[in-house]
């Protein structure tokens, strides 16, 4: 029997910290709506290859909005993704001054980011990983849970096995202090990350 994957289940899976549940939701959304991204982009002077970047950005926006509790649970995911894909794509076009009446579309979204900044992103990503590795797995986790996944201290306490909320808060504080101390002791890294 086919199991129905309801919108509320998708939202719960994306809210979860379980990467398997996140992946299940992302895979479903990919299968269900990727064709829509291609269609929107083709209809707006783009190419099929541009869809990947735009669709992934839209999924990230959805994911973060669900985490931030900005996504209204009565909204339709499909409608949300439709608007996001369209906005991201049209903004990318506008940003590059490609939308001009009669002007031929020449650049692809993937080419919008120039090579220099792409390389810089790679370096930055590497340095960030090194930096967060320095403070230890648990510190990295607690900071990501709080600042990216927008989890409450009570949820962090339960998820990471702290005995009480105060311990979790203290640990988060210490991790942030470690990170600040580390970055200030390495001005070269700080500069590279900018």
């Amino acid at each position: 029997m086919k199991v129905i994957y309801l919108e509320k289940d998708i939202i719960e899976d994306l809210e979860s910290l379980d990467s398997m549940r996140n992946n299940r939701a992302f895979k479903y959304l990919y299968k269900r709506h990727y064709a829509m991204a291609i269609s929107i982009i083709i209809k707006n002077n783009g190419y099929e290859e541009d869809a990947k970047e735009v669709f992934q950005d839209a999924l990230i926006a959805l994911y973060e909005n669900i985490k931030n509790r900005k996504f209204r649970k009565d909204s339709s995911i499909k409608t949300y993704l439709y608007s996001m894909i369209r906005n991201i794509w049209l903004n990318a076009l506008k940003k590059n001054r490609i939308i001009n009446e009669g002007e031929q579309f020449e650049e692809k979204y993937s080419q919008i980011t120039d090579n220099d900044s792409f390389d810089h992103d790679d370096v930055k990503s590497f340095l960030l990983k090194k930096l967060l590795d320095k403070i230890g797995t648990n510190c990295k986790k607690i900071l990501q849970y709080y600042y990216y996944h927008q989890m409450s201290m009570s949820d962090i306490m339960q998820n990471m096995g702290f005995s009480n909320e105060h311990s979790a808060k203290t640990q988060k504080y210490k991790c942030m202090q470690k990170l600040i101390a580390f970055i200030n002791s390495k001005p070269a890294i700080k500069e590279s990350l900018k």
């Binding site: 409608t79 439709y82 960030l128 990501q144 203290t170 600040i180 101390a181």
Partner: protein
């Protein structure tokens, strides 16, 4: 423990002055900074804090570092999510290709077995031939009707965009997607235009949602003045045929023959095929 955290802070600022302003040994002071960044301070608490920021450059620097690192943590986490999506992209596309290959192989094997069964069992074949006949007639006669422009364009409103997307999938014969988009469009625009309902009903028929197709076509057939009335009768006949209701299908076809419009000849031919 407190002395240690304080020491770390002094190391990074290289200045002891800050402890006079904000006692970094205390979690409460750290949360004051955090609450300020998160926009949770109000009234006099906010004013006092902002005055301190202006007065003490060390505090200002600490705040800047804090905000900068929060942004970096978020960027880093976003990149991790992006990597997950990259993997899913590869997996979904590769899986789709593999599934397509498997499906083709399965169809080939199934075709061989199917042929053997049919050849070996004439009785079995006869039992189901009526249903198959209707399906064959349906497939031979079903073709998506289209009168809308194929030009690319930018939609003016959100629901206009939804309808345009639905039309796009309809024209690509991707009826399942068209059905979903029309349904979203109807949610946004409850005053469903009859023409949109017509294309939705044809999409339902193409996607195999025959009951839904019949239900919507029957609604449209209540108005004989509807601009696509004859077309609706044609697709309603096909839907009834697919549903195994030959009598209703023939009744619709006879109405078309009476109207003697563009679908009359086709209808005569289809009627003779059903009989």
């Amino acid at each position: 423990m407190h002395a240690k955290t304080d020491r770390i802070y002094k190391q990074q600022t290289g200045n002891k002055g800050i402890t006079k302003v904000m006692n970094m040994e205390k979690l409460d002071d750290f949360y004051l900074i955090e609450n300020y960044v998160e926009g949770k301070l109000t009234g006099s608490e906010l004013n006092d804090f902002e005055k301190k920021i202006e007065k003490y450059p060390e505090l200002k620097q600490y705040l800047a570092d804090y905000q900068y690192l929060v942004k970096e943590i978020q960027d880093y986490s976003r990149q991790e999510t992006k990597k997950t999506l990259e993997n899913i992209h590869r997996e979904v596309i590769e899986k789709k290709q593999t599934q397509s290959w498997k499906k083709n192989s399965f169809i080939k094997i199934a075709a061989v077995f199917g042929t053997l069964i049919i050849l070996a069992s004439p009785f079995f074949y006869q039992q189901f031939s009526n249903g198959n006949k209707n399906d064959t007639i349906f497939r031979e006669n079903f073709e998506a009707y289209s009168s809308f422009s194929t030009e690319r364009g930018t939609a003016t409103t959100h629901y206009d965009a939804l309808e345009k997307s639905a039309q796009y999938y309809y024209q690509k014969n991707n009826f399942e997607e068209a059905v979903l988009l029309y349904e979203e469009y109807f949610k946004e625009n409850p005053e469903v235009p009859k023409i949109s309902r017509f294309y939705y009903a044809v999409s339902c028929l193409g996607a195999g949602h025959t009951e839904k197709a019949i239900e919507n076509m029957d609604m449209l057939l209540l108005d004989p003045k509807f601009v696509l009335y004859e077309q609706t009768l044609w697709y309603a006949a096909l839907a009834e045929l697919k549903n195994g209701n030959n009598k209703k299908a023939i009744a619709h076809l006879e109405t078309i023959i009476q109207i003697d419009g563009v679908f009359a000849l086709r209808s005569k031919s289809l009627k003779s095929q059903i009989k």
